[in-house]
Structures are given as C-alpha cells and as structure tokens.
Symmetry: C2
Amino acid sequence: MIDPLTRKLENFAPLSSEDRRILAEIASQSRRVAARTDIIREGERPDDVHLVLEGFACRYKIVPDGRRHIMAYLVPGDLCDSHAFILKEMDHSIGTLSACRVVGIPRGRILEMLERPAIARALWWSALVDEATLREWLVNIGRRPAEQRVAHLLCELLMRLQTVGLASGDSYELPITQGDLADTVGLTLVHVNRVLQRLRATGLITLRSRHLVINDAQALKAFSGFDANYLHLAENAKTEERC
Amino acid sequence: MIDPLTRKLENFAPLSSEDRRILAEIASQSRRVAARTDIIREGERPDDVHLVLEGFACRYKIVPDGRRHIMAYLVPGDLCDSHAFILKEMDHSIGTLSACRVVGIPRGRILEMLERPAIARALWWSALVDEATLREWLVNIGRRPAEQRVAHLLCELLMRLQTVGLASGDSYELPITQGDLADTVGLTLVHVNRVLQRLRATGLITLRSRHLVINDAQALKAFSGFDANYLHLAENAKTEERC
DNA sequence: CGGCAACTTGACAATGCTCAACGCGGGTGG
DNA sequence: CCACCCGCGTTGAGCATTGTCAAGTTGCCG
C-alpha cells in the first residue's frame, strides 16, 4: 500500500518520482505506540516531527479542572509538530487514541524535504488545511447543536480518510471511544451516547463496534451543514483538469 | 508612534534597522475602513495580504441557519491572509468590527519581506501563535463555562494589546459590541450581557462605554484558567537574557 | 429633539449535564 | 475452557446552564 503521507500530498499537487521516493523512505521505519499514550507533552521541546502512519492520535489540552479537550485528530498521513522549528516549547500535548504506528522524522530530514519545491508547497498546503480545520471545529462547537456537531465531525472524517484511502465507500473504521468524541465536540460522554443513538435512529448512520457506515452521505452533510471547502481538496481536481 | 507590526515582531526577535525600515514603509500608506465592513469574503481570492493598523477586525463564518461565528480577532499588528500564497480561495470572511485603518500589502512586497531572515522567522512565529490562539479558543468554548469563557478572552486581549502598546496598565479600549462577543464565545447576546454584569458585580472588571479595566489581572487569570504559554511571548524574555 | 443601535431586564423553555446504576463483551488468569 | 474483571456503552431521573422571546432603557449622533 502506498504510504498515507504521499497519498495525501499528491492530493494537492503531483509529485515527481524522486519526491515520492524521499517520502516513501521516511515511512519505511516506524514504531508502534499503544493506545492512550502520550507522544509529546505540553512544555516539552520536541526534537523531531512525528508522522502518523496508522491509527488515530490527537492534540489535546487539559484545563485546570482536569477535563480534557481534543483540538485535532491526527490520522494516517498527518504530521504532528511543524512548530518545532520556531517555537520553544509545546503549548499542548499529543497522544494516541487508538494503537498507532508513527515515525519520528529528524529535523535535518525535514529540511531536506523542504528543499524540494513540490514537497515544500504540499506541506505548506497541508499546514494551512490543518489550520482551516481548526477554524471549522471552532464554528462547529460554537454554533451547532449537539447532533449536528457530531454529524459534522463524522462527515469531515469521511472526507479526510477518503483522501488517504482509509474509507471504503461511505464507511470507515473509527477506533475511538464515545468519551473521546465527547472531549472533541465539547459535550458529555452521556450526551454523545444519546446523540449517536438518535443519529442511528434516524437512519443517518450505522455504528457498531467501531465501524461506521454513513448510510446517506448527502443527507448527513446537509443535516450537519457540512461544506468541504475548508479542506481545500478542489486543488487537485483543478490540477487534473489542467493536465 | 512605532507601528504595531514592528512592535509585535520585535517581541519575538530583534530586528535590524533595515528590517525596521522595510516594515515601517509598509505601514506608511493605509486606508480607512468603516465598522462592520467586509475586507474579504469567503470564496474570493485575495491579491494582497492585509495588515490591521488600527481598530478591531475579525475572521468569521456564517453557518447555514444564518448565525455568525467569529474565529479570530485581528488587532493592530495582525496580518490577515497569509494563506493567499497557497490556497485557491478564502474559506471564511474577514470583516471589521470597529472602524479600522488597514493596509493591503501586495504579494511582491511580502516576498521581499520574506527574503530578510529575521522578518521571515518573525512572521512564521506570528503565524504559529495565531494557530495556537485558535486552539486555545477551541478549548475555551469547548470546556469552560460562560463566565470563564468571557474572562479568558479578556485576559488574552490584555496580553495581546500590551505587546503592541495598546493597553495602559491593565486596561484597554474594547471597541466591539456584546453581540460581537457573543458570536466569539459561542453564547447568546443576552447571556453575554448577564455574564458581564456578574463579572462587574464580583469586581473583577470595570467595563463602561467600550473601556475595559481589569481590576485584578492576577485574579481574572486565575478565575478563567488563563495561562499565557500559548502566546509564546517568553521568547523575547529569553532573548533579552542572552544579551 | 428624534432616532437608532446597543444594552438591560424578566419570564419561561430547552438543551445538555450530573449522578448513579446496569449490561455487555472481550481479554486474562486460573 | 470457564469465570471474573474492567472498560465501554446504555439508561433513567432530576437539575443547571444557557437560550428564546419580548419589552423596555440608555446613550450617542445627527
């Protein structure tokens, strides 16, 4: 299988075979990390940039009263700490949700990658999409009621997992707990449970033992007000048109 | 008065006099924009990058049901659309909250700036801090009750305005309406009003006709769980220590 | 002085939270 | 191979925070 980072970046711009070779080489040596394990903690100064190859990880913070909030999901193909080059220390932690396979890429390796214009642009694009996603999450939590909030997140994950080849049709594996979901959408575990049941009851989704099927993607998107523009996937389509 | 962008960037790293000259030149020609006016709209492709010199602007989105959510405040010294170079079109709008003075910086000018290493690093730092701020807002809305949410925002603005010299002691001008605040913290106008009254009643703040006084900054920070680490201001202190 | 936008207030409704208990299932050790 | 245990999911009852609607009030600007 082609590695998820290459797959994601090609979604933005075509890469030369040499570009692809460099990326593939990075993905070659990875380590396994158990579920619920921190990769980097707030306050640390990471030496290398982490790349997720398998499983779900997340950025999160713990607020003073002890509760957690998840600020981003890191799925296969996602880079963790692009800030490492500039900022002195992490202002948040990164940890796994499910069991993961990750690679630590040394700084020198990253610099090497950035010297290749196509890769550099694609990585920049990827960083901007991450930021746009963060903005969309803010809107999601700020202005959508519980059911639409969860539905919106499920729509986003469908698109993101499709771009790295981890969705089959409109279904995918969602290896996280309802508690994790709750910490993501700013609700309670109990309430997320009820919301999921209602989404199941209305026939929008089927979710059993971590396997999600979106029965009618169009309907779910309409229901949640999902508009994929913030993922900026159209870039690829436009590029292909030109070819 | 020294222009706010220079002032902000110097907070990260010292700039040479030539660097400063370049930045000052940019700030020299600006235009006025009335309150409640869009600078760029979702879907557009901006030609130049905007810099706010005076007043408050914001990034925002409108959700399908017509409600607005504000995702960032742009205060003097803040750049608006660093994505312009990579992404095809805006996935959100930018508009003024109060009357503003802004400059449109052409792409060529930006490239020129990026050739100066100190400026390039400082701009990169600034972009990363913007992203970190976005993450903190997500946590704020996701996991803090109404009063702490508003209090946290007020603490952040204090720090940010202090770094561009727009706060006097622990007070500053907040030229936005309670409705704007509501669209920022994900609450209702009515509820924000009651929250502000309670903050006033407990003596934490004094707010009258757009002028905010934080009576006990330490107390307000403690109350709202504010930790400035995400603004990464310590960089400057560390630099100064070295000199 | 009039008008409009922003702010304030009250009564009521609803969404989402808390607490507490129970069921289910998969993994582990005896 | 079975029994136990623990994490996760599910359910119910009652409560709290926040939203809605609707009607003033204040204050600034022309």
